[in-house]
């Protein structure tokens, strides 16, 4: 097991983020099984369908981390972020939207070009070679 990203979705406008640590609630939450680690693309993204939502999952082996953010690009209004190029800007891991090229932080979901815009970030972990995602509490869409 080699990672954990500990953020819940940041929503446009409020910019309110609740930083959750392992101690808060995580043990009581359900982790949803998504796919095998070998299904991920090193240094690139895949799109997973988790409880009806599209989640972009990125595997950056150099950082030893997996990240998960919403697949929906708020600028182009299309589900494309999993198809963006990954990299870093000033050390911050990012994905660039393949449509209009804005950069989104993989850690915070924040758009680097426009502070008022961000995309949801999801907790993701590897358990026994499986990729698992946790949806924020109280938000379980069928």
């Amino acid at each position: 097991m080699f990672l954990c990203v500990l953020r819940v979705p940041a929503v446009k406008k409020t910019n309110q983020r609740t930083d959750m640590t392992e101690t808060t609630a995580s043990r009581t939450e359900t982790w949803i099984d998504v796919c095998d680690v070998s299904d991920l693309e090193p240094d690139a993204g895949v799109c997973a369908l988790v409880a009806g939502r599209q989640i972009a999952i990125f595997h950056l082996p150099k950082l030893g981390k997996v990240f998960a953010i919403g697949n929906y690009d708020p600028f182009s209004h299309a589900n494309v972020l999993s198809r963006g190029l990954t990299g870093d800007i000033g050390g911050e891991p990012v994905v660039a939207s393949p449509v209009y090229k804005q950069h989104f932080s993989l850690e915070t979901g924040r758009c680097l070009e426009d502070e008022t815009v961000s995309v949801p970030v999801y907790r993701v972990r590897i358990e026994g070679g499986r990729v698992q995602i946790q949806l924020p509490a109280g938000e379980k869409r069928p």
Partner: protein, 850 residues
């Protein structure tokens, strides 16, 4: 309010400049502008007339368009010469009988070439050198001539001599004075110029007074000189100076000078206060100015006066710098040292054939004049000392002595005062350029278009660039060439590193020469370099993660997240069977179908997971990838050519198909478009392509670095009448050189504009093999040609890639439910957010609904 009528007679450079300036001012509203031109076309650049021989395209010399005049409400009477001015009734009459009343009249009638009254001067084979029509006539006669002579060894005469030599004639220059360029150069300078020009294979005859032109014994004509010598020649071009066109003014009773020229005052007013005269027809202070810059100054003076502003013409500096037959020549101010008390510093180097002379004031402090032959590098600096009265360094000869150890002998741009005139054609000062940069305009091309600096004769281009560079550097704006934060190198340097170290992967490059993870700038750039060097499969494990979305899925991402698919249709030629097959694929997958500008068919609305199925059908029908998704060679457009067309002279379709198959898929810094036209009518629009080929009777003319799109650029004529083999050789070299040296996402047009040495340098590299790299460039293209494979065919053979990269969800079947189509004009199109909401209940703002 009734607008006043302003008539401009003459639509040469100065007449046009006047109108161009006037229509941008307030006064334009008061006037209805009418202009007459005896030539059949609008104003063109006579200064660069000789370049017509390279392009044979009058449009390249044009200074304006009919649209410009129409937009500004200017009435133009083209090909209709004004023949009379009725001052009593204030009416201008033309040859065709047009009568136009005027309130204000501007004479910009220019000059005519002086032809000495030698018996026989009007024989067949005798020409002048003034208009495009003259040049066309000279070209026609040159085709049936072996020898050509130019009468006149001045600026224009030497230009004409170059033209004759370029037309393949044995060329002679005949000059009455004892030396070349007698007006501008001193004796030593003239002698040095002569040596250099003779070395180029032109025979120079000075001190020759032509007495008679008779029928020749061996050639068409024979010139007989006063000293008894003779010269047999097939044609003669007179270029012995100009005379003002003052016949209209004379006939109207305006005051003219004893040796011609319409007398004007400091306001460029003639003896009739309602009539102005500007340019070469005007006689100011007993002087006629045969250069364009003073003419432009006069035009601006009149524009200012019409706007109620105070303005005066106070004479003009006749300093010039030019390249005569490849020889640099510069003269400044009092080049003969006639100022009382003046003394000179002279540097002469017979080995390199360089001559430089400074004429300085008696107190040794100010520059009065200069002569430069063979090396005019000091011209810009000297001109600034001269024009701005800057104190000379002591001793002044440091300015012309060869600098040792690279010590800068010149006056840096920082030393120039803000008031220093940089561009005298458009009267742009250093202060204006600096102000332009202060407004945030930093690109050289933008500064040029904003200030107009360096858009006249172009003589100040180097100085302008050095000022811009110095100013940018001062502001810490020096353009960093680093491709991004992960590599401290330009694309060209990265290319070099990859080539020298034989690097095959991005990770290897990053580890050894970069930092961080890379990004969406450097990854695709490196992928492109690796592809154009190694040409490995772009979706292989080591490369796929570097590819931009389009390359990653081998299709073009559209705004709604679906893709478009463009199969290759080489040269735009397609069989009915294939056309039907395309239609069937489009119908089967319900794709929106559109014909592209590159003569292909684009199929839109393909979902990621559909791409392999669509391509399987296309490949089964005989298609291959069209690389519309790649920064690579796209299409080679063609007209139907000699096979069908009544006018075609070569098989343009065959050549286009050949070229497209040769270069298809080759990755480059940006996309590359080509076209082949079967004749000079140019129906394939090859001159707006990166590589354009136009058929001639003898072969192919090659054009390079054109561009349509956002910043259109006409391609430059690169080489003429090439056979098939040479054409392909030059294109190979051109492409490889572009791939190696261009910046990331730099189209060939901007690449050329930023290439030091420009088109001439490019020709030296590609035609003359100046760098000795042509064999290597050809090998590189040959490697790319031989290793080509259809990326889609290869991908369809790879189950693992298909399964992994062409499914929408990693953990589920199906596709994106946010992709919704509606119908319009019988085809699909992406639904708008409102339509999606109405049809599918998809919230208008997805992320707020979660």
């Amino acid at each position: 309010m009734q607008r006043k009528k302003l008539v401009v007679i003459g639509n040469g450079m100065v007449g046009h400049h006047f109108i161009e300036q006037l229509v941008q001012t307030e006064a334009a509203k008061q006037f209805e502008i009418i202009t007459f031109s005896e030539e059949p076309r609008l104003a063109y650049d006579r200064v660069h007339l000789t370049s017509y021989f390279e392009t044979r395209d009058p449009a390249k010399l044009a200074l304006t368009t009919e649209d410009f005049y129409r937009e500004h409400g200017v009435t133009v009477h083209l090909g209709d010469k004004a023949v009379a001015i009725d001052r009593a009734h204030k009416i201008v009459r033309s040859e065709k009988g047009t009568e136009v009343p005027y309130d204000v009249l501007v004479l910009a009638t220019g000059s005519y070439p002086f032809v000495p009254p030698i018996p026989g001067h009007d024989r067949e084979g005798c020409f002048v050198y003034r208009t495009i029509e003259d040049l066309e006539a000279i070209t026609r006669t040159a085709a049936e001539s072996r020898i050509g002579a130019v009468v006149g060894g001045g600026l224009l005469g030497l230009e004409a001599a170059k033209a004759l030599q370029d037309l393949g004639l044995e060329t002679h220059v005949v000059e009455f004075a004892p030396r070349l360029m007698a007006v501008q150069l001193d004796e030593e300078g003239g002698a040095m110029l002569r040596r250099k020009i003779e070395a180029l294979g032109v025979a120079v005859h000075t001190g020759k007074n032509t007495q008679n032109i008779v029928t020749g014994k061996f050639q068409r004509l024979k010139m007989e000189f006063a000293d008894g010598d003779e010269l047999e020649t097939d044609m003669i071009v007179f270029s012995a100076g100009i005379r003002p066109r003052d016949e209209l003014a004379r006939q109207a009773g305006l005051e003219v000078g004893p040796r011609g020229g319409i007398v004007v005052d400091d306001h460029c007013r003639t003896s009739d206060p309602d009539i102005f005269a500007i340019g070469e027809c005007a006689l100011w202070n007993g002087q006629i100015f045969g250069l364009v810059a003073p003419g432009y100054q006069m035009a601006r003076v009149v524009v200012d006066l019409l706007n109620g502003k105070e303005a005066a013409f106070t004479g003009a500096d006749l300093s010039t710098k030019l390249k005569l037959m490849g020889v640099d020549v510069g003269t400044i101010g009092d080049s003969h040292g006639r100022t009382p008390g003046a003394h000179s510093y002279v540097y002469k180097n017979e080995h390199d054939e360089v001559y430089k002379r400074l004429i300085v004031s008696a107190d040794n402090r100010k520059l009065l004049g200069a002569v430069l032959v063979g090396d005019a590098a000091a011209y810009d600096t000297l001109l600034q000392y001269y024009q701005n009265g800057i104190d000379l360094p002591q001793p002044p000869d440091a300015l012309i002595l060869p600098s040792n150890e690279g010590a800068p002998a010149g006056l840096g741009p920082d030393a120039l005062p803000e008031s220093a005139t940089i561009c005298s054609c458009h009267n742009v000062t250093k202060g204006q350029i600096v102000a332009c940069i202060d407004r945030g305009v930093v690109a050289l091309a933008d500064i040029k278009s904003e200030t107009k600096a360096s858009t006249g004769c172009g003589g100040c281009a180097a100085l302008l660039k050095s000022i811009v560079d110095a100013e940018l550097e001062k502001r810490g704006l020096e353009v960093k060439k680093d491709i991004c934060e992960h590599f401290p190198y330009s694309r060209q340097e990265l290319y070099h590193i990859i080539r020298v170290e034989q690097i095959r992967t991005f990770d290897e490059l990053l580890e050894n020469h970069g930092r961080g993870l890379g990004c969406d700038i450097c990854k695709p750039a490196v992928a492109s370099i690796l592809a154009s060097y190694w040409n490995d499969y772009v979706l292989s494990d080591k490369y796929f993660k570097l590819q931009d979305t389009n390359d990653f899925r081998l299709a073009n991402l559209q705004k709604d997240g679906t893709y478009s698919v463009v199969p290759r249709v080489p040269g735009g030629e397609i069989t009915p069977e294939k056309l039907i097959a395309l239609g069937e694929v489009a119908r089967k997958y319900n794709l929106y179908t559109k014909i592209t500008g590159g003569q292909r068919i684009d199929l839109f609305g393909a979902r990621l997971e559909q791409l392999p199925h669509i391509w399987k059908d296309l490949i089964d029908a005989g298609f291959e990838s069209g690389h519309a998704y790649a920064k690579a060679v796209r299409t080679v457009k063609s007209c139907v050519g000699s096979t069908w067309c009544r006018y075609g002279v070569q098989d343009s379709v065959g050549m286009a198909i050949f070229l497209e198959h040769r270069y298809k898929g080759i990755r480059a810094p940006h996309k590359i478009k080509m076209a082949v036209s079967g004749c000079t009518r140019e129906c394939a629009e090859a001159q707006c392509k990166d590589i354009g080929v136009i058929a001639t009777e003898k072969g192919w003319n090659l054009y390079v670095c054109g561009n349509g799109g956002m910043k259109p650029r006409h391609a430059d004529l690169f080489a003429t009448d090439l056979d098939d083999e040479t054409l392909v050789k030059y294109i190979d070299r051109f492409m490889a050189f572009y791939i190696r040296t261009a910046d990331r996402l730099q189209r060939t047009s901007t690449w050329l504009e930023n290439l030091e040495g420009g088109l001439d340098y490019l020709k030296e590299v590609i035609i003359d093999d100046k760098l000795g790299i042509c064999a290597e460039l050809e090998r590189q293209i040959q490697h790319l040609v031989e290793t080509y494979e259809c990326e889609w065919k290869k991908t369809l053979e790879n189950e693992a890639i298909l399964k992994k990269r062409f499914r929408f969800f990693v953990n589920a079947e199906g596709g994106d439910d946010n992709v919704v189509f509606v119908e319009e004009r019988g085809q699909i199109r992406p639904a708008t957010p409102e339509e999606k909401h109405r049809l599918k209940g998809i919230p208008v703002e997805l992320e707020e609904a979660s």
